[in-house]
Point group: D2
Chain length 351, copies 4
C-alpha cells in the first residue's frame, strides 16, 4: 500500500532533466494547487539558471544525489534519457520518493519489472508519462467504447507518422510506439497475445525509422500500428471499427473524434450463404471535446495518487505492459518479421 500524506500539506516535487520535455513538467507542476515545485536538477548550468529566473524560489542542483538526499522532497519527476530511467528511478524509490518517469518506463521489461517491485516494497507511487491517457479525445473514445456505443470492436488501425525527428539512441518503435501501445492498452483493457512487425532503417541502416506492426488481442481484436519518422506530412489517424459504430480519432484535427453510425446490416442468422449483406450509413457526429491540457491533468493525477494512495491512471503496470509490447515488436523484427507469441507471464516465443 502506498503511504498517505496529510492532504493539507502540499507535495514537494523535484524535476530532473531540463531538456526538451522537462520544462513542460516544471510549468505544470508549478500550477498545481496541492504541490510545490521544490527543486530542479540538470547537469547543464544554463538550463538551471533559466528555470531559476522564471521560477524564483526553486532550488537548483546539478547533482541527482542532492535530490534524493533532501528529506523534504516527496516526489521526483524524471525527464531524462531512457537509458537512465532504471538507475535514477531505482535510487529515487529506494530513497522512499514517489516517482514519475517519462515514457517509456525503462529500456527493458526486466528493468521495468524491477521498478514495479521496488515501488511496491517502498510503498511509493510509480507513474509513467503516457500523456495520451489524459487526452480528452482519447477519453471520449474510451467512454464510447465502454458505454457500448461501438459494439464489439473488430479492429483498430493507427498511423503516427511525420517527417522527423530521428532519434540517435532508439528506434521509431521505442520513440513513437509508447503512444499507440498505451492508448490501445487503455481502450481495450488487455495486452496483446501476439505481435508481428516489419520495419526498415531507411536513413540510418539498422535503426528502424518506419515500422508496420500487427497486434492480436485475447478478445479477438486486431490492431495495426504504422509508425514513421519519414512522411510527406504529419498524420495522426486512428480508425476503430466496431459492430455498431466506427470512430476516427485524429488529435491534429479540429474535430479530433468523429463517430460514424455506419456498419453492416446482418441478414437472418445462418443465411450468410444465400443473402448478400447490406450496409447502413448513418449520421456522423463530432462530439465537443474539452480543451484541457493533458499534461496538467497528468500532473494532477500524480499529485492525487500521492495524496490519496489511489493508483494513477498511467500506472507503473501500464508502463511495464507497454515496454513488454515494444520488446515483442523488436523480437519480431529480430526474427525477420515472424509472429511472436506473448505468454501471460510475458515470455516471448516465435509462433
Amino acid at each position: 500500500m502506498t503511504q498517505q500524506l496529510d492532504p493539507s500539506r502540499r507535495t514537494r516535487m523535484a524535476v530532473v532533466g531540463l531538456g526538451y520535455w522537462g520544462p513542460n513538467l516544471v510549468r505544470n507542476v508549478n500550477e498545481l494547487a496541492n504541490a510545490e515545485l521544490a527543486m530542479v536538477c540538470d547537469s547543464r548550468r544554463p538550463s538551471l539558471e533559466k528555470i531559476a529566473r522564471r521560477y524564483p524560489g526553486v532550488a537548483t542542483t546539478d547533482d541527482f544525489h542532492d535530490v534524493i538526499a533532501d528529506p523534504t522532497i516527496d516526489a521526483i519527476l524524471l525527464a531524462t534519457p531512457v537509458s537512465t530511467h532504471h538507475t535514477l528511478a531505482q535510487r529515487a524509490l529506494r530513497a522512499g520518493k514517489h516517482v514519475f518517469v517519462e515514457k517509456p518506463l525503462a529500456g527493458s521489461a526486466e528493468e521495468a519489472a524491477t521498478l514495479l517491485r521496488l515501488a511496491e516494497e517502498n510503498s511509493c507511487v510509480l507513474m509513467v508519462g503516457h500523456t495520451f491517457l489524459y487526452s480528452p479525445a482519447v477519453n471520449a473514445v474510451r467512454d464510447l467504447i465502454q458505454e457500448g456505443a461501438v459494439g464489439d470492436i473488430y479492429f483498430i488501425s493507427m498511423s503516427r507518422v511525420n517527417l522527423g525527428i530521428h532519434q540517435t539512441d532508439v528506434s521509431v518503435v521505442w520513440d513513437l510506439g509508447p503512444h499507440d501501445f498505451s492508448i490501445l492498452r487503455y481502450w481495450l483493457d488487455e495486452n496483446p497475445i501476439a505481435v508481428s512487425a516489419a520495419s526498415r532503417g531507411c536513413v540510418i541502416p539498422g535503426k528502424p525509422d518506419v515500422a508496420f506492426i500487427n497486434l492480436e488481442f485475447p478478445s479477438g481484436v486486431i490492431a495495426h500500428v504504422e509508425l514513421s519518422w519519414l512522411a510527406p506530412s504529419k498524420l495522426r489517424r486512428t480508425t476503430i471499427v466496431g459492430s455498431s459504430q466506427m470512430i476516427v480519432y485524429d488529435d491534429t484535427s479540429s474535430e479530433p473524434v468523429r463517430v460514424f453510425d455506419s456498419g453492416v446490416v446482418f441478414p437472418e442468422p445462418g443465411s450468410f450463404g444465400e443473402y448478400q449483406l447490406s450496409y447502413r450509413t448513418g449520421s456522423i457526429v463530432s462530439p465537443r471535446i474539452d480543451a484541457s491540457e493533458p499534461l496538467f491533468l497528468e500532473m494532477q493525477d500524480f499529485c492525487t495518487a500521492i495524496q490519496t494512495g489511489r493508483s494513477p491512471r498511467s500506472s507503473g503496470q501500464i508502463g511495464f505492459d507497454v515496454v513488454r509490447v515494444i520488446e515483442a515488436v523488436h523480437a519480431s523484427l529480430d526474427a525477420g518479421g515472424g509472429r511472436i507469441a506473448v505468454a501471460a507471464d510475458g515470455a516471448l516465443s516465435v509462433a
Copy 2:
C-alpha cells in the same frame, strides 16, 4: 510469338459475362476504332437482351461453346466469376482465341501458370484486367519513379478501404489485393521475396474482411497494404517515401498525385553518430493528370497487342505474379501471420 493479324481488318471480340463489370467492357470495346463487338455471352437472357437493344447487330448466346466455335471471333474477354477463369480461358486459348481475363487471372498460381503456357503454345495474347496499370495517375507516379525524381524508394504504404461490398466467394485479399499488388509490381518492376499478413473475418468468421499485409522486395523496399471492406469512409491513399521526394497518390482526390519535395538532409558520411539529421521541406506540386478512362486505354492495349504481337502492359505474366502474391499472403494467414518467403521459382516457405 504471337500471331499477327492484318491491321486493316478489325478484330472481332466477344464479351463473356454481363454481370457488374461486363457491360463496361462491352461499352469500351464498342468504341474501339480497330475492333468490333461481335458477340456477347451470358446465361441470363435479360442481360443479353439489354445489350442487344443498346448495341444492335451484336450476336448473343447463352452458350460459351458458341463463342469459341465461331471462327470469325478473334478475341474473348472474360468478366465471369474467378472460379470460372481457368476453365473458360483454357477452352478459349485452345480454340486459338486471344484472351482478356478480368482480375485476378485465376484462382491459384498453378492455374495461372497453365494459362500462361497455353497462351505461349497457341501464340495467343493473354491479358489480365489490372485496370490501374492504365490509370494516368498511376503512370504519372511511375514516370516520376523512373526519371529518378523520387530517388531510392524507401517504403510504400497503401490503404484501400471502404464500407462494403463483402464478397461471398473470396476474401478481401483476393478482391481488393490485385489492385495494389499489380500497382506495386508495375512501379517497382520486381516481385516480393517475403510476405507477412494479419487479418480477421469480422463479419463472417473465417472470411477475412480486413487485412494488413507487409511485403519485402529484393531491392530492400518494403510495402504495407491495408485492405478492408469495413471502414467509416472510403480511403485510397498511397504514400511513396523516397530518398529525394515523397509522393501521395489518391485516386479519389481531385489532385490524385501530390509530389512533396521533402526529405532528410544527410550530414557528412560517417558522421551519423555525432551530428543530428536535419530535414528539408520544400514545395508541393500536384501535376496535371490526364482524364482518360483507364478501361478504354486497357481495351486499346488489348487490341494493339493482338494486332502487333507486342505484349500488353497488363500481361499474363503480371497477372500470374499477382496471383502468386495473393497465395503467399494467404499462406501467411494460414500460418497465423508468420513470414512467408517467396522463392524465385514461386515456392513458398515459412521463413
Copy 3:
C-alpha cells in the same frame, strides 16, 4: 384551378430541346410510373435519332408545331435557350398544355408574368426547373430551419464558383444565380426587399463572369451570393448562421449538410454594455442525407401536379420571383453597384 386528369391514365409528355440538359429530362420522364415519354422535338436531326434509338416508340419531330398540335400530348417540357422560353411556353399554354420550363422561367419578369397569367387562364400547370428545390440536402436544411433548430436566421453566405463555362448569351447572374436565388426563396419563404451587387466582365468585357450580390429580406435576414465562372477550384459552400445553430451546406461534399451547435451565449438582457459575450462550441453533426436524384423527384412532382391539381414545389410563382431578383441585380449593376429597392409589386428603384 388546374384541370384534373384521370390518375389511371398516364400523362403523355413531350420534351423539347435535346441539347445539354434535355436528354436528362428524357431519361427521367421515361422512368416515371405515371407518365409516358410520347414525343421529342429538336431542330437537329442527329439528336432526335440518338434519342429514338435509345427509346424506341417515342415520336420525333423537328417542328414545335407538331408538339402543340398533337391532342394526345398532355404536357411539354422545354429545355431550350432562355430567349425562346417565353414564346414557346406561351404557345404551349395557349394550346392547353401543362408546361415545365428549364430555369430561368423567362428572360424578364414581364415575360414571366405573362406566362403565369396564361397558365392561370388555361388551368395549366406551369413549373420551372429549379432542381435544387428537390435536392435532399436542401430539404434537410429547410426542415432544420422550419423546426426551429437554427433559431432566428442572422445571415446566409453562398459561394457558387468554378472554372467555366462562360455562356455567350447571358451573364453569370442569369446562369448561376437562379440556383441560389431559388434556394433562398425556398428556405426563407420571402422575397428580398433590396439588392446590391458588384460584378466584372473579366474575360469578355461587359459580360459579367463574376458577381458579388447582397440581398436584404423583410425579416432582417441578409444574404450574400458569390457567383463566378472563374475560380481555381469548384466551390459550393453555403453557410447559414442562426441564433441557435449554424449550418454549412455543400453539395459537392460527402457530408453535404453539417450542423454546428455553436453560437453566442447572451448575458442578461440589458447588460450588453457591461459584460462581454461568451461563445458556445458544441458538437457537429452530419445527418445522413438521402441519395435520391433531385431531377427524378422534380419530374415526379410535375407529374403529380398535373394529376392532382396541386401546385408543384418549383412553381411558376417561384420562377417569377427568381427572375425578379435577377432583374434587380442587373439593375444594381447598371446603376454602378447602387442599392436597388424592390417594391411589393416588383417595382425597382435606386434606393
Copy 4:
C-alpha cells in the same frame, strides 16, 4: 525627413498598453538586436508587475507622461484601445518620439491625417501594426503578382470569419477589416475608388458583426471582403483570380499559398461571338513558405526605419489609407448599402 540615430546605439523603446496584444510587442522588442526594451506603461499594476518579473531591468510606470518625459526613450509602441490612439500618438510625436501604433492607426481619417502631418513635422517615424504585411505568405503572393505570374488581376475574394470575439467599442469592419484592406493595399499598390457594403448587427443591434464589402480599384480590379464574428468555423480564404494564374491564400492552412496554373484559353481576337472559350487546368503548386514570425519582422522594420530613415513597409500612409477605406465602408452602411465614391483627396460621396 526622419532623424537618423547612431546605428551603434540601441534604440530604447517603450511599450504602452499591456492588454491582449501588448505583451507580444514586449516579447519581440526584447529579442531585437538593435533595440532595448526600456519601459512599459499600463494603468493596471498587476500587468506591469508580471512584465517586470519576466524582463528584469525594464522600467515600469502607470503614467503615460513618464514615457514621453523620459529623454532617453527613442520610440513608443502603442497597444492601447483605438479611441486613445490619436491623443497618445499626438503627444508622443510632439515629444519627438518615433511612434508605432497598433492597427487601425486612428478612429477617423481626419485623426490619422493629423498624425501623418505631425510625424512629418517632427521628423519621426510613424508606423502602423499591419502585421500581415510581414507575413511570409502575404509576401510570397505579392512577389508572384509583381513578377507577373498572375497576369492581370481580375478580382480578389476574401473571407475572414470565425466565432467571436465581439468587440464592445467597434464594428467588425473596424476590427477585422484592417487586415484585408492593408493586404489589398500592399498587393495592388492602389486605393479603391468606390466601396459598397451590407452588414447586420446580429447579436447587438446596430453593431455590425457581419459585413460583405465590395471594393473597386482604378485598375479595374474588384475585391470582395467578407468579415464576421459569427461563423461555424474559422475561415481565412483569399482567392486571387488573374488572367494567367490563380492563387488561394489561407494562413490557417499548412499550405498557405497554392498557385493554380489554370485559366481561360482565348480564341483569336474578335471572335468571341462565334467561338466558345476553352479552359486550361494545369498543375497546382504550394511553394515552401518561410516560417518567420511576422511580428518580429515588423518590429525589426520599425527599428530599421528609425535607424536608417527609410520608411517602414507598414507606413503611416498605409495606415491612413486603411482608415479611409473603413470610413468609406461605414459611409456605405450609413447610406443603407449604397455605393460610395472615394475621391483622390479622400472625399466620400454617394455615387
